[in-house]
Symmetry: C2
Subunit: 206 residues, 2 copies
């Protein structure tokens, strides 16, 4: 969306940069679904490194996982279009990845006794799962719910920027702030979506 | 489902017992959506009491919240059938309630330094949200995903039984075990659903 938090330019350029890799992978017969699963696996490992208090390792692995997550759709496209099963798998693994990210953050908060970080991590965890749930539920009822100021890629970029500030400059508070911003943006998106769907469905009646 | 964890009889009798209350509420003009919101509110308060380490208070308030949650659908039926918006609101509040339950459990685990309980609570939190997500996503793609050994009401009954064992007999470990069972049952349901949907969608092709 053009009014998203992450400039559309950055997202478009990343996709353009990945395009040759995606075409090569598709020619080599690497399936989009395998890349989806690899991206999910990398994110879980990165979340584990985060929970263990290793910000630099976490940043590198999570950035690779995020790239794999962008690459899978492009490989599917280069291979002649994605399957419905691929779309389902990709969406489900996205939810698992987001969960891993914030479970890792919550565990880090517990081991470092950061009460505020624990709260924001739990809010971000729950709301990051509720936002796509509301969309899927709305779509299963014949409504649409793609509105909101912070699409998933925007939330992940903010999270990774906060993590980078911690990894490179020791600014742990910048990471806490990033998790807070992600939690707030996701909550705003959730409220906007519920109201948006509510309006569509209440005019629809029974 | 007849093969569910909670005997179907118990669920049916509870619904029968609530039927006169639902009819009276409908006649008084109490809307199903208000009862849905009240049920969600009660569950959040109950989860707060749980996080504060007050099992008896939590049990009473959570049981009331669960009753309200069963009542809303009956009121909608008694009032001549539910609306699509009511179904959307009910589903969304169910997810918020489940989240509150396991966030409350996780916070309790942190304040009482119960590492195992923290793990099971986080697994139960994530998977309880993934199970309905997978269903809604599958339905939005034209597949169905209502399979699994532990429907939501079964998971809540197990949770409340564990909480009752702690509240009345001081058996904190029974509560920990209940959360573990809920986490495992939800995980089994998730895996079964993903495989079930995967099979439907891969035969569908593109």
């Amino acid at each position: 969306m053009s009014h998203g938090v992450v400039p559309t330019q950055v997202a478009r350029r990343t996709r353009l940069g990945l395009a040759p890799i995606a075409r090569r992978a598709a020619r080599l017969g690497i399936s989009a679904n395998v890349v989806t699963l690899a991206g999910g696996g990398l994110t879980i490992i990165g979340a584990g490194l985060l929970a263990a208090g290793m910000p630099l390792g976490a940043l590198v692995v999570l950035a690779l996982g995020t790239l794999a997550d962008t690459l899978d759709g492009q490989i599917a496209k280069a291979a002649g279009g994605g399957t419905t099963f691929g779309a389902f798998l990709d969406s489900t693994i996205d939810r698992v990845s987001d969960s891993a990210l914030f479970v890792g953050t919550a565990l880090l908060a517990v081991t470092t006794a950061q009460a505020a970080l624990l709260w924001w991590a739990l809010v971000a965890l729950v709301v990051s799962l509720l936002v796509p749930y509301v969309r899927a539920k709305a779509e299963s009822l014949g409504a649409s719910a793609t509105v909101g100021p912070a699409p998933r890629e925007g939330r992940i970029v903010i999270f990774l920027l906060g993590l980078a500030a911690w990894a490179f400059f020791g600014l742990f508070l910048a990471f806490v702030a990033a998790v807070l911003v992600v939690a707030l943006l996701a909550t705003v998106t959730l409220v906007i979506r519920v109201v948006h769907v509510g309006r569509q469905l209440s005019t629809k009646g029974r």
